[in-house]
Symmetry: C4
Subunit: 278 residues, 4 copies
């Protein structure tokens, strides 16, 4: 019983942590397997490859499903709190990465096969596990979180603009020039404002082209808004990183510049060793 | 009479303010109704849906018009200064949101029906009421206002550039390659400079492609200008937010950093309690 | 003779300066005339309008040429240093704005008519006079001048990239997919890297699409470079504006923050009146 | 023998350095020759020019190859450490710039001729020598190196997004609307997210257009991320440039602002001559 307990601890260290040698090997092998299974899914979607290598690819997919199922069960077995793992973000992603294959097993009717192909694509979520290896993303996330409110205001302004401009174009250009409905005209406004410009719908009338010009110059200019918001927040986050916790013995101010020797508030020395001759 | 007065006050609090429970309920119900009416207008513009559900959609639109009319009259009745409300931005938007339906009533001739559809779209302005819920947009507005002059200079430079490049392309490519007039060539220059690139007009000659390359690289580079302007202004606005009013007792400087304990001008303590032992 | 001298002085004040009432009127009238002549040139380029109103437009153009010629001669007459004016940027632009019409006069051969139309477009340079009214552009120009070297390095990097990627695409896609020569493939690389994306040439092979993906993600990412350069320079320029000339009486440091009362270098008071009690 | 030694030293100074008059002449002549050879390669790729001037262009290419070969041999002869040069970046580029012509000589089979044309394009790498003249690029490189980690996180996020959105579009739109495989749908997602928008594949279904709208607005917004990263790093790099090495005699802090006269850490004078009267 103590052996089973010890095995579980060892498994937990190997599977959930990567600060031991076998733990890092496991993580690297897992990452490689995820990428390989992703390549198989992608190749299977190419018609010519599917026609030729259907059987091999199908076999590979089942092999990967088998591996990921064992991995999922081991994770459940070795986790300190299995329920917490199962309902965590990665627990759900791990489950979604294997489910589609099993659903396809018990529902063999041809009609559903197409839907299964759709679900099969969810296996791509496996790649999201990559995020486990990316802890240095914190900075960007901090900056994005800090500017969340401003970004919402910005997105709502953009949605208002595309709704107004899209409706205006529907009236000006009309169904005969391809602007067949307001939603489709709003889609065009998004294509144009974001400076994507597919060219599948283009204004034909002089007035439509004038409005399109306004939309394009607006889109070209207001791209400055998210950029400005994010840059200002990121500068703040980086400045925050440069500050360090070094409480002043005299006045108590806690955050100081990394290089500071004297308190920026009361002017007294932050280090006992650095006494200025008086 | 005092009852009527009291009713008006209560109505004003419910309709114009949202700091009471019924006031917030009213605002939320209004926002939902506006969105619903917007969806109806959009669905009505889709040809297949219009063919099937014309009557229901028409009924819905009249119901919304009725509701918004009552709301408008109640706003006029309960406002402290009805005239001020009527000529305020939202007063005019509220009126424009109901007028098109009534104009369609008294002008039944088939020829005008199309025009009514155009006016009907003005109902979309209702969504602008969303702005009432977005007070946190102040920051972005401050930054935009601060950079207004620089943005006008930037837009005039862009207009000059597209006029010159558009005319040049009209001469170089000519009507046989789709550049049928100077205004249309300017439209192409806007499409290209803003990096939208629809692809409905493309240069065919080697010289035209060389000029187009210059336009594209210019557009790609000068997008830095609005971004730089806005970022610098937004940084200023955010720094302004971090400053607080904390007048110095010795020299009188009023604005200091949020964390400051000592005046950044004369070095004396900003707080009486924080005396440094000497 | 003194009268002629006085007339020249008055003319100079009216024509070259805008700080008197008639001077401002003259400038405003001139700006309006330039815009009107620009509209005439543009309308003349539209085939339908040219067919109908050829004579009127031709008359207008001659009227504008006549006005601008008189203006140019008066400028030459009233300028303190006529030669300096004639060879200044605006002197040359003023001349280029009237020359095309006169060249068309003495060269009546039909073959050259098309060329005249080309020269006629130079009249658009008149609008550049607008710059006289835009003194607040200094900021942006300072920022651009400060980042000139970095921008040249950036543009050379971009040119190197599009040359390499363009040649690579010529080899990979080849003439049968529309990449008929290296210069045209470089043009495609510019269209793609600047995120314009006309869509007149698109990669057909899998390898070509992979290379195109690299070009697009590169273009999407390195747009950060001009933006970063300009933002950093503009922040510097704005910070420079906030500095004011306030020489310190003790150590001589000349530039200080607008709000500063004490020298940031030696700590002594910048104002005699603001003595700190000791 | 001493003469040969002296000749090598003189050659080294002329070829590898540009601080003498003949050294600068050599570098300028080399730059001109590289550009000329580049023009020849490009002209040769244009079908009409190739048909007419095949012989002259072929001769030019051989002349350039001859010149660059002599240059390469002289570099090897005069370099202080020939092996170090040969395996340096520019040593390899210099070799790659001449090899293709010689490979074409000894492999005369018609089948390989096409491949030789491909290798011939490697001669374009010669232009990379331009980098020798661009030492002022350090700034941008410093900023890019500082933000390398963040840029990798950003690129991985973008790759994850285009994979997920591409697969989703493959399911939603399907092969009948041009989304023939997952890799091709991912290519479309890259085209759309980077706001290039070729328009060769466009969503046809309402759901597809809705997803495309999300991709476009995401791409339009997250362009802020690389820009913000680079701007923040570049500001740091520029601020770093403004700092100079001026060690404080009292506390030893080494880096100070260019204008500083007093240590920002201990407050003592950085210069002996600048003593404040007390």
């Amino acid at each position: 019983m103590a052996d089973a307990q010890r095995l579980r601890r060892r498994l937990e260290i190997i599977i959930f942590h990567s600060n031991t040698v076998p733990g890092r090997w496991f993580d690297e092998a897992l990452l490689f397997t995820i990428l390989a299974s992703l390549v198989v899914v992608m190749l299977d979607s190419v018609a010519e490859i599917h026609a030729k290598y259907d059987e091999i690819l199908s076999l590979c997919e089942w092999a990967f499903t088998f591996l990921f199922t064992i991995e999922y069960l081991l994770r459940l077995y070795s986790a300190r709190k299995p329920a917490k793992y199962a309902f965590s973000f990665f627990g759900i992603v791990d489950l979604l990465a294997i489910l589609p294959s099993f659903i396809a097993l018990f529902v063999p009717s041809a009609q559903y096969l197409l839907v299964i192909r759709i679900l099969r694509l969810l296996r791509i979520f496996r790649i999201l596990k990559l995020r486990q290896y990316l802890n240095q993303a914190n900075f960007l996330v901090t900056a994005l979180r800090g500017s969340r409110q401003k970004i919402i205001v910005f997105l709502l302004s953009v949605l208002t603009m595309v709704t107004l401009f899209g409706s205006l174009m529907y009236v000006v250009e009309g169904p005969e020039n391809g602007y067949t409905s307001i939603p489709k005209s709003i889609y065009w406004a998004i294509v144009t404002l974001t400076t994507v410009g597919f060219g599948d719908m283009v204004p034909q009338t002089a007035l439509g082209q004038a409005i399109a010009s306004i939309v394009m110059i607006s889109g070209y200019s207001i791209i400055a808004v998210p950029t400005g918001i994010f840059t200002a927040e990121l500068s703040n986050a980086i400045r925050g990183e440069n500050s360090i916790l070094k409480p002043c013995g005299t006045c108590g101010k806690e955050l100081h510049e990394a290089q500071a020797s004297f308190c920026s508030r009361c002017g007294n020395s932050l280090y006992k060793r650095a006494v200025i001759p008086e």
